[in-house]
């Protein structure tokens, strides 16, 4: 499929329409709603990275919270230790560099195994990072975490500006463009020969090795790319949240990442994006209803796995496919 074919697809028009519509959200949505959307967008970038491992490489990580925390803490620690360099154009590359190092180390250890062994190793490593974030108080702020100041963004200082003003101004557009670029980049990755190789490894590791694909090495690359997306999501999220604490490296948050992806539908490319935004709203409204909000989240996960295993986006894709088939065959 060339660029012309891609542009002529209905999905392209839907995505372009959503992007254009989102450009006008700061003018139409209340600030609080906008912050929820922004939080969802940062999770979406993370979800895209997570799903590169789950959907395309067949590896379920229960430790991605650590990679998210790496990006978020890179921003926080830069603000704490290098306040002169607290500019978004420096912070994002630093967060990516930190994510690259941590995901390269974690990945090197984890991809030596698959299935449940991979999942448990990733979980264990994330808990090691969690323990370090809690214990290294002087460096990380311990369990108190680190407050995230507003950064200088492309030469513009936000000193004295309220966070909600920052978030409903230039930062929203920066985040939207970054999320769009990340989505396009991930789409290109999964459609490239590299993406095909990952899917071959997922489907049949033995055969993949026997056609000359370096299975472990490509799994490692996938883990690193996944870590970069996740770390980027964490860095961008830190500005939205205004505070980072070790909880984002804990297994509970890693479980939430899995939940978001399943909610949207991990078999569909846009599933993690849909799931991340839906989860942000679901969690907030569940918390506002009851202190037992985790019960609601848990019950909804059980219901979804039983009734809609394809996830929300996957369900829509299935529905559209059924309608299309019915229209072409005349059978309903």
């Amino acid at each position: 499929m060339n660029l012309k074919d891609l542009v002529l697809r209905p999905a392209f028009f839907i995505c372009a329409g959503i992007f254009i519509g989102m450009l006008f959200l700061p003018q139409t949505l209340p600030v609080y709603q906008l912050m929820l959307i922004e939080s969802g967008l940062t999770f979406a970038i993370m979800g895209l990275g997570f799903n590169l491992l789950l959907r395309y490489t067949g590896l379920l990580s229960f430790g991605h919270g650590a990679l998210f925390a790496t990006g978020a803490y890179a921003v926080g620690m830069m603000g704490r230790w290098f306040p002169d360099l607290y500019r978004i154009e420096i912070l994002i590359p630093v967060a990516l560099a930190a994510s690259l190092i941590i995901s390269a180390i974690f990945g090197f250890i984890c991809v030596r195994h698959t299935r449940v062994f991979f999942s448990i190793l990733a979980l264990a490593l994330s808990m090691v990072l969690f323990a370090l974030l809690v214990k290294l108080y002087d460096l990380t702020g311990g369990s108190d975490g680190i407050h995230i100041d507003l950064p200088i963004m492309f030469g513009k200082s936000y000193d004295g500006v309220k966070r909600f003003e920052f978030l409903s101004g230039g930062y929203y557009y920066f985040l939207l463009c970054t999320c769009t670029a990340a989505t396009i980049l991930m789409y290109a990755i999964v459609k490239s020969p590299f993406g095909m190789a990952l899917q071959s490894i997922r489907d049949n590791e033995v055969r993949a090795e026997m056609i000359g694909i370096r299975v472990r090495r490509y799994r490692w690359y996938a883990f690193i790319i996944s870590g970069l997306f996740t770390g980027l999501g964490g860095a961008l999220w830190s500005f939205v949240n205004g505070h980072v604490s070790p909880e984002i490296s804990e297994w509970v948050f890693s479980g939430e990442i899995v939940y978001m992806t399943l909610l949207g539908g991990f078999m569909v490319f846009v599933g993690p994006i849909v799931g991340s935004i839906l989860f942000t709203y679901m969690k907030l409204y569940a918390i506002s209803i009851t202190q037992y909000w985790m019960f609601i989240i848990g019950a909804s996960l059980i219901a979804m796995v039983l009734l809609l295993p394809e996830g929300v986006a996957g369900g829509f894709v299935k529905l559209f496919a059924r309608i299309k088939r019915a229209n072409s065959t005349g059978v309903r």
């Binding site: 899917q199 026997m210 000359g212």
Partner: protein, 247 residues
Amino acid sequence: MLRIEDLVKDFGKSRVINSASFEVKDDEIVALVGPNGAGKTTLVNLISGHILPTSGKIKFLGHDITSASPYRRIKSGIARNFQITNLFEDSSVLDNVRICLFSVYDKINRGILSANYYRDITQEAEGLLNEFGIEAQKHEMPPNLSEGDKKVLDTAMAFALKSKFLLLDEPTSGVATGDKFKVMDTIISAIKKQKMACMIIEHDMDIVSDYSDRVLVLSEGNIIAQGKSEEIMEQDNVKEILFGVKK
């Protein structure tokens, strides 16, 4: 081309390959025959690097590849198919071949251009499917193919690796009896066209005698006879092992 010297493979206390030595020359098609459990697939696994030998040497084109990784062996020109078809079930027939070509041409880690951008590779994959007679099914998923077509696709994938030496592990097993010769004709004509050497594991002695230049007989991990098929079939020990005919 391929030289096996005193190859031994033990699984625990069980010796599966016992000091096997033989040679395969350039452009030669060698059949490896023997009863079930003789060690034929183990031998293929040893040559392809799927498992490593306990002792002995494997030399390919003069280089010692005894402990080389499967990746190194493939890059040096050894490819294989599988006794039980081993395909990428969630990818189309065309993509099963395309991924092999991407691997051969080292395109996998060369940026993030769409796989469809490489039209020359898509055309080559289509040409290969055409050569193997399954181009019409290029958009099908492997589970929708007949057993015969799955076997042909499996072999086409090994063939796509542009190897110099092809290991075919029972290329007609599971194929309907009437289609066996058609499948073999397709495979052998492609092999001869590319002037490859080949080692075929096969149980059907008609296929062995029709398509191979030389036959190796393996029994309990030992090569007990080798030579032209008509000569081999006359030997009493071969008759006894392959057909249960006692003198």
